[in-house]
């Protein structure tokens, strides 16, 4: 398996706090990797650096062999690494279809292509009924689905999902999970950050566990979850 993503020795400091401390991992084509770790373990910071929102203090991030550490966020997105936020960021002053067309155009699709693709994704995510509604009129979960849909207007090389299942209705969670599973089966690579352990166990064959800015464990999900260090990091030393 060739490395789609190769992160080496990634480091980020905020003042005296070392938020991410020499993190390294690789992700192969079509892999679905879960990111675990308690709050403050550096998951979101790693994602922020990967998606170009933060400049790493040290280390290298390679996407398909190209170093993207230092590139602007939009260039990274167009290069095929796309990011979905923990807090939803859809354009509330636009309709659902406008949101999708904007994303599609940004990723280089023409108008017709983008419209066709938008309808396809909306159908997949059961949002077609809301096509012309304003994003501000959608529920929180629907907005999350919409943002998710935007990320898939043009299939990325890898999608970085930050807590996609948090605070959404169970039926929508199912829709989302099905979509991830189905596309992953077709070769779509993912990094999935989630606290929802059952979903991670269900979806991800492999997990990377972070604690205090470092990689604590990296391997097949069942193995990692059995490691005492991981249990301790998650549940506290006295457990």
């Amino acid at each position: 398996m060739s490395a789609l993503i190769a992160v080496e020795n990634l480091t980020k400091r905020f003042g005296s706090l070392v938020a991410v401390d020499g993190v390294s991992f690789t992700i192969g084509d079509g892999e679905l990797v879960g990111f675990l770790g308690p709050n403050g373990s550096g998951k979101t910071t790693v994602l922020n650096m990967m998606s170009g929102l933060l400049r790493p203090d040290a280390g290298r991030i390679a996407l398909d062999g190209t170093d993207v550490g230092g590139m602007a966020a939009d260039s990274i997105a167009r290069a095929g690494m796309i990011r979905m936020f923990q807090l939803t960021r859809v354009y509330t002053e636009m309709t659902v279809i406008e949101n999708l067309l904007t994303a599609g155009f940004a990723l280089g699709l023409g108008k017709r292509e983008a419209t066709e693709r938008a309808d396809e994704v909306l159908d997949d995510l059961k949002l077609l009924a809301y096509r012309e509604a304003f994003a501000s009129d959608l529920s929180g979960g629907q907005q999350k689905l919409l943002e998710f849909a935007c990320c898939f207007m043009k299939a990325p090389k890898i999608a970085l999902l930050d807590e996609p299942f948090a605070a959404i209705h169970p039926t929508m969670r199912q829709v989302l999970a099905d979509y991830v599973r189905r596309t992953n089966a077709a070769g779509q690579a993912y990094i999935l950050v989630s606290h929802d352990m059952p979903i991670v166990i269900d979806l991800c064959p492999r997990v990377v566990c972070l604690a205090a800015g470092s990689v604590l464990a990296d391997g097949p999900t069942d193995q990692v979850l059995r490691e005492p260090a991981v249990i301790e990091a998650y549940l506290g030393p006295n457990h």
Binding site: S51, G52, L53, L54, R55, A72, A73, D74, A77, R78, I82, R83, F85, L87, T88, R89, V90, Y91, T92, E93, M94, E98, L101, T102, A103, F105, A106, L107, K111, C150, C151
Partner: protein, 295 residues
């Protein structure tokens, strides 16, 4: 008298709106106030007048050339001076506003000084678009030139609003205005959007300068007056709101016109400010300002 004041106010307001639209777009996308906005107006006015008078370029060419001059200037300014604000990773947050203020303010002084050096400090009246006897519109004599200028201004105003709302690039601009980092992460080329916005704003201001050059002869310092009006308008209409710029512009034109007659001409410039204070008391985000913003 009332109807003629309304007509006169709406005409003035249309040109105010043309200036303010670009300024509010820049604010929307870049979160900065361009203090050199009046100088785009001045450059447009001079480009039009000088091309016509000194080089004998026909009006039909001089007018688009003036718009192009303003657009090109905006494009260059964005690439050279504004880019450092956001070029690196979501932008330098510290000192960002101060940087923008100083850079655009210095640019304004530079452009005025450069123009004074090149063409001298005097004012030069621009040619009319069309000649002909004036028409009477609610007691106001409106020359065919003014009607043509008004028509072009309205076409550009509504054209820009339409493109912002319905074109692909327009949506990109709105996306960046609503949430810059989200747009960037979605792959929207925020650099290109910023450049387009600056060039468009420059072009619109230059167009206003050229269209008004017959009524207000351009001189190097002519930009100060429309720029100040634009600052009032964009706060009045809601920072970053294109519709707010349009409505705010027309409103300011009418209020000033009515106040000048029914209260006193001497305090004309204060009526807009009084209205602004009133609006801000009732609606702190301006008439069409957003009340919330996603994080």
């Amino acid at each position: 008298m009332l109807s003629s004041m309304l007509v006169s106010g709406l005409i003035t307001g249309t040109f105010y709106a043309l200036m303010a639209l670009g300024l509010t777009m820049i604010f929307g996308v870049l979160r900065i106030v361009n203090f050199a906005h009046g100088e785009f107006y001045m450059i447009g006015g001079f480009a039009y007048v000088l091309l016509y008078h000194n080089l004998g370029v026909p009006i039909a060419v001089a007018l688009p050339a003036a718009v192009l001059a303003g657009g090109t200037l905006g494009w260059i300014v964005e690439k050279l001076l504004i880019r450092p604000i956001y070029a690196e990773f979501g932008g330098r947050q510290q000192g960002r506003d101060e940087y923008a203020i100083i850079v655009t303010f210095a640019l304004s002084i530079l452009l005025i000084a450069a123009m004074t050096k090149i063409v001298g400090p005097w004012s030069l009246q621009g040619p009319r678009l069309i000649d002909g006897p004036p028409l009477l519109l609610a007691g106001v004599r409106v020359s065919p030139h003014q009607i043509a200028a008004l028509g072009i201004a309205l076409a550009f105003l509504f054209g820009t609003l339409y493109l912002l709302n319905y074109s692909l690039w327009g949506r990109q601009i709105r996306a960046v205005a609503q949430n810059r980092s989200a747009a960037a992460v979605m792959g929207v080329d925020v650099g290109k959007v910023s450049t387009i916005v600056f060039a468009t704003a420059g072009g619109l201001a230059a167009l206003a300068g050229a269209l008004l050059s017959n009524m207000i002869s351009p001189s190097p310092d002519v930009g100060a007056f429309p720029a100040i009006k634009s600052y009032v308008i964009i706060v009045l209409g809601g920072l970053g709101s294109p519709l707010g710029a349009l409505i705010g512009g027309l409103l300011l034109g009418v209020i000033e016109s009515l106040g000048a007659i029914y209260i006193s001409f001497s305090y004309r410039d204060t009526y807009g400010l009084a209205l602004l204070v009133l609006v801000l008391l009732l609606r702190p985000n301006g008439l069409f300002g957003e009340t919330r913003r996603e994080v």
